[in-house]
């Protein structure tokens, strides 16, 4: 890392080299981790992407173009409208072509045709439906949309579903649910994992044995059937919020084992390290050894493991909701949206119903790459 400072070929180091070298030598562990992580270009790019997705998840209504529950049969299965900037060969401000629907007299299916005469302008920060930012600031501005002057026309970047609801807006709200379920479930599993893994690794002996056997049994259960059975037992009368928390607990119930193993492994390997023995020999207390010597040195590993656990949880929620036993409508999550695309017929009829799946892939991919980058950077003193 500090090549310039130690390389004999550059024996006349400038002051800036010395400064940088010194910075590296005195930097705390987390800073070294960050310096190494920054070298992983791809992970950095995906970190930006996740930042963007997090912003969407915090204020989904701002990014939505319509009320996500606004359904109208006359709008059903409308194909996505592409944002264009070229009309009749000339460059213009962004717009979408309007669409017209007609019922096919033979199949009775609603068929959509693009109307190349009517253009609907697409602008940023337009007025739209009213919502409350963070739950208490009333706002009616939206990130993109068509100006209020075109009242009556709607724009659907990702098309509409069976009930004529706007997929783009639903996706924005679904991002909030899916991402936060992943986070909350992982937070619960992390707590359980650090607690039980820590106990297991620190005390060893019988306690360790019992906890390890429990982990083995939990890991040899097929997760999805168990989750399905547990969530099928949730009363149908529960509210969306209650179901939400129940699902996170159910997911965390089998999810903590990997983290516990990770924590235990770190504890076991660190227990024998020189700096821990040194601390013990100078008479530091157990708590001090754990919290000011051991925890900081494996914190980055835990962060990496947690980052890798979030995408798994997101996938699991998607599976459960997709099968109809996770989040239930009227809640909106990626899995709930994908439920609309559950069989061949609906997919053939409206392929754009699979688009939420691409967002799942992108998010999970991004989190996996960031997690790998963190894991590689986690041990700043290696090499």
């Amino acid at each position: 890392m500090s090549h310039a400072a130690t390389d004999p070929a550059t024996t006349a180091p400038s002051t800036s080299h010395d400064d940088r070298g010194n910075q590296v030598y005195v930097a705390p562990g987390w800073k070294l981790t960050w310096l190494r992580f920054k070298k992983h270009r791809l992970a950095l790019v995906f970190l930006w992407l996740i930042g963007l997705i997090t912003i969407v998840a915090t204020i989904p209504a701002f990014f939505a173009t319509m009320d996500p529950d606004d359904s109208r049969a006359a709008r059903a299965f409308r194909p996505p409208q592409v944002i264009r900037i070229v009309h009749d060969g000339t460059l213009t401000l962004p717009f979408v072509y309007a669409a017209e629907s007609a019922r096919n007299p033979r199949t009775l299916k609603l068929e959509w045709t693009v109307d190349r005469e009517t253009r609907l302008p697409v602008r940023m920060f337009v007025k739209g439906f009213e919502y409350e930012l963070f739950g208490f600031i009333p706002v009616d501005r939206h990130f993109v949309g068509i100006p209020p002057a075109y009242e009556g026309s709607t724009v659907h970047f990702l098309g509409t579903d069976r009930l004529g609801r706007d997929q783009w807006s639903r996706l924005m709200f679904g991002t909030q649910t899916s991402l936060s379920i992943g986070l909350v479930a992982v937070a619960i599993s992390t707590l359980l994992g650090i607690l039980l893994g820590g106990i297991s690794g620190y005390y060893g002996g019988l306690v360790d044995n019992v906890i390890q056997r429990i982990i083995e049994i939990l890991q040899s259960l097929p997760p999805i059937p168990i989750w399905l059975a547990l969530s099928a037992a949730l009363p149908r009368t529960w509210s969306v919020t209650t179901v939400y928390f129940a699902i996170t607990v159910i997911l965390a119930l089998l999810g903590w084992t990997r983290l516990a193993r990770e924590v235990r492994g770190r504890f076991l390997s660190l227990r024998e390290e020189d700096f821990v023995s040194a601390a013990r020999l100078v008479g530091a207390s157990k708590m001090r050894i754990i919290f000011s010597h051991m925890v900081p040195s494996f914190m980055s590993h835990i962060i990496a493991a947690v980052t890798l656990a979030i995408p798994l949880m997101i996938l699991n929620e998607t599976f459960l909701s997709f099968l109809g036993l996770g989040m239930r409508p009227p809640a909106i999550s990626w899995g709930v949206m994908l439920q609309e695309a559950q069989n061949l017929q609906s997919v053939v009829n409206a392929p754009w119903l699979m688009i939420p799946g691409l967002f799942v892939i992108l998010t999970v991919l991004a989190l996996n790459i960031i997690g790998d980058g963190l894991r590689d950077a986690a041990d700043p003193y290696a090499n």
Partner: protein, 327 residues
Amino acid sequence: MHLFILKRLLIAPFLLAIFSVIAFVLIQAPPGDFLTSYIAELAQGGTSIGQEQIEALRQQYGLDRPTYVQYFVWVGNLLQGDLGTSFEWRRSNAELIGERLALTLTMTTISLIFTWAIAIPAGIISAVRQYSGIDYVITVLNYIGLATPNFLLALLIMWFAFDQFGVTVTGLFSPEYVAAPWSLARVADMMSRIWLPALVLAVAGTAEVARVVRANLLDELDRPYTEMARAKGLPEWRLVLKYPTRVAIAPVISTLGWYIPRLLSGGLVVSVVMSLPTIGPLLLRSLIGQDMYLAGTIILLYSVLTIVGTLLSDILLALLDPRIRTA
């Protein structure tokens, strides 16, 4: 070697007992006793059920007795080969599960073979040619494979096959064989269809196994014994396959114990999407319809499959690694 396997065999019944308790807890999980909800449902539909019939059912499951007695009644019935009756289907659970179980096993096994047949060579190539073009391609494919939910992959393939070629790839049998009795032609028909869901199911696991093999092999390639073999002039490919690879794939086999439950898990979702007649969709329906004894039996079956799988992986591992046999 024999002692090692014998030890493993002795653990199996304990595991089975624990799993049966877990399955029973899940049976009991929905609020209310299932018989009352069943009677209420029948009454709603207009059919009433005779008092003596209710009594017979109550006795069969010991519902009038404490919970722990119910558990032993259930386990006792299972041990005698009586898997109970499904309320929703009005058929014996054994009859419902039978053929589906065989199909599930076939699909899982084929999927496992795919996983190893693709992942192990991919991992080896990736490690031996580290940082080459093919290594990058494999790494990128791994990331995508890990991130794609298998039901979405199944949907995409179904849609593509229908949209481009007009082929419907759902189900395990062509229409003329769905209800036909088993024959060689029916098996051939099934085999011509089962590989696709098995492949879809294998994707995520393949990505993971390939990563593990690559990482382990990279560690082993620097070891002195590898250098030694190279110094003696062994051709590179024979050397890699003969020594470090054997060490590198050991963890892949030892983690079979938890890979099988995940295959069964994933198989459930893929089967629902592709409408395959495996036990997955049956479990889903029984859970939604609160046909809990059927559901519990299926979950227990999943556990049995896992135990058998773990046992097989232990034996394979002992064959592969002499250090384990003697330990």
